[in-house]
């Protein structure tokens, strides 16, 4: 039976972490560290969520001079609502780790 969109364990893990602080902006590297997902798994998930309007993105100024601007992410209102529903439907064991918000991103 085909799986419903955005219900893979990896996507649910990302959604759960983003939902921890839905109004904060999160960096890709921090998301990868906290979810344990490799960049090649994480970024296609973020890209798909952004395409579906679940995620908003923003380029943030670098914290250190000479570094490139960084891409940051947070759930949209609709995204947060749908994510809560999806997570409620999913088994709680899938969401194992916690996400700390990016410092100073609120």
């Amino acid at each position: 039976m085909p799986r419903l969109p955005n219900t893979s364990p990896q996507t649910l893990r990302v959604l759960a972490l983003l939902l921890e602080s839905p109004r904060s902006w999160h960096y890709g590297y921090a998301l990868s560290q906290l979810t344990g997902l490799k960049s090649g798994t994480l970024y296609p998930i973020l890209l798909r969520l952004a395409d579906q309007g679940w995620l908003e993105t923003r380029w943030a100024e670098p914290e250190q001079p000479g570094r490139p601007p960084r891409h940051t992410y947070r759930l949209t209102g609709a995204g947060a609502k749908t994510a809560r529903t999806k997570l409620a439907e999913a088994a709680p064991s899938r969401m194992t780790r916690r996400l700390a918000p990016v410092p100073g991103s609120r």
Binding site: Y27, G28, Y29, S32, K38, S39, G40, T41, L42, Y43, P44, L46, L47, R48, D51, T57, P62, R67, P68, P69, R70, H71
Partner: protein
């Protein structure tokens, strides 16, 4: 400790090269997500971590390009698929329809059999005629394919142009005294030529995707790049033949044949240019 540091720097360099190479695989208007991944790679603590992070760019680029293809208008996509497809089929099948009758015509004209062994009355009694048909046919096929803008067909004929040329030179030099051994080498020669063409084709940059800081190493040193492609192809094919049949390795002619096929094919493939497409800025 010093060794560890050098390896870390090597991994760091590889990561940066990989990210730069990936940037060229994506059209400028679709690079946002790859730029995001590239910027985050600066957070990695060491070269190995950066390399692991950069490797994630490979599936990301695949996803980006898949999505771009899905978003293209269907009519344009269908046309973009059908027109080159027809041109490629025409350039391959059409040219076989010319070469095969030409070979049969030559056997009829010279009253010989279509047989390349050492038996009397075979094609080998007219080596220059049949070599000319084989080489000329492949080269002309490549030229016609290029005229039709059928790039796949041009690469196809480049493989056979290299293979037929080296095979003919070998035949004219020494004849085929041991047909079963020649058969094994022939397969490897074809593989070396194919690898040479494929590697050279992969190494070419798509116009409009050059990095902002100017042409890449491959763009600046095309001949070197194609020679490297040829050497890698030779090494791969030669390694294969060593594993398969050690007795063939004893004969230097096999090495020269493989080297010739791989290098010639890579150089020929380097002559096949990509059609310049004006990059279209389209939302992902």
């Amino acid at each position: 400790m010093q060794m560890h540091g050098s390896l870390g720097r090597l991994a760091d360099g590889l990561a940066r090269q990989l990210l730069s190479w990936l940037q060229r695989r994506v059209e400028p208007g679709s690079r946002e997500w790859l730029d995001a991944l590239t910027a985050e790679s600066e957070c990695a603590d060491d070269g190995w971590q950066r390399l692991r992070w950069a490797l994630g760019g490979v599936p990301l680029v695949w996803t980006i390009n898949q999505r771009r293809q899905r978003n293209e208008p269907t009519r344009g996509t269908m046309r973009a698929l059908i027109v080159p497809g027809v041109a490629n089929i025409a350039a391959i099948a059409g040219w076989y329809a010319v070469i095969i009758p030409a070979i049969y015509g030559a056997t009829h004209l010279f009253r010989c059999h279509l047989f390349f062994g050492n038996e009397p009355g075979g094609c080998q009694e007219h080596p220059f005629v049949f070599s000319a048909i084989a080489i000329g046919g492949a080269v002309l096929g490549m030229i016609i394919a290029l005229a039709l803008r059928a790039r796949f067909a041009a690469y196809w004929w480049a493989v056979f142009a290299a293979f037929n040329t080296v095979g003919s030179v070998w035949y004219l030099r020494s004849g085929i005294v041991d047909l079963p051994r020649y058969g094994a080498t022939q397969s490897t020669m074809l593989m070396a030529a194919t690898l040479g063409v494929v590697l050279a084709a992969i190494m070419r940059e798509t116009p409009g995707t050059e990095p902002d800081h100017g042409p890449s190493f491959l763009g600046r040193h095309r001949i070197t790049a194609h020679l490297i492609a040829g050497m890698i192809s030779f090494a791969m094919a030669d390694a294969l033949i060593r594993m398969r049949d050690r007795s063939l390795v004893a004969d230097n002619v096999n090495h020269y044949a493989l080297l010739g096929c791989a290098m010639f094919a890579a150089i020929l493939a380097g002559l096949i240019r990509r059609h310049h497409r004006i990059p279209v800025e389209r939302p992902l």
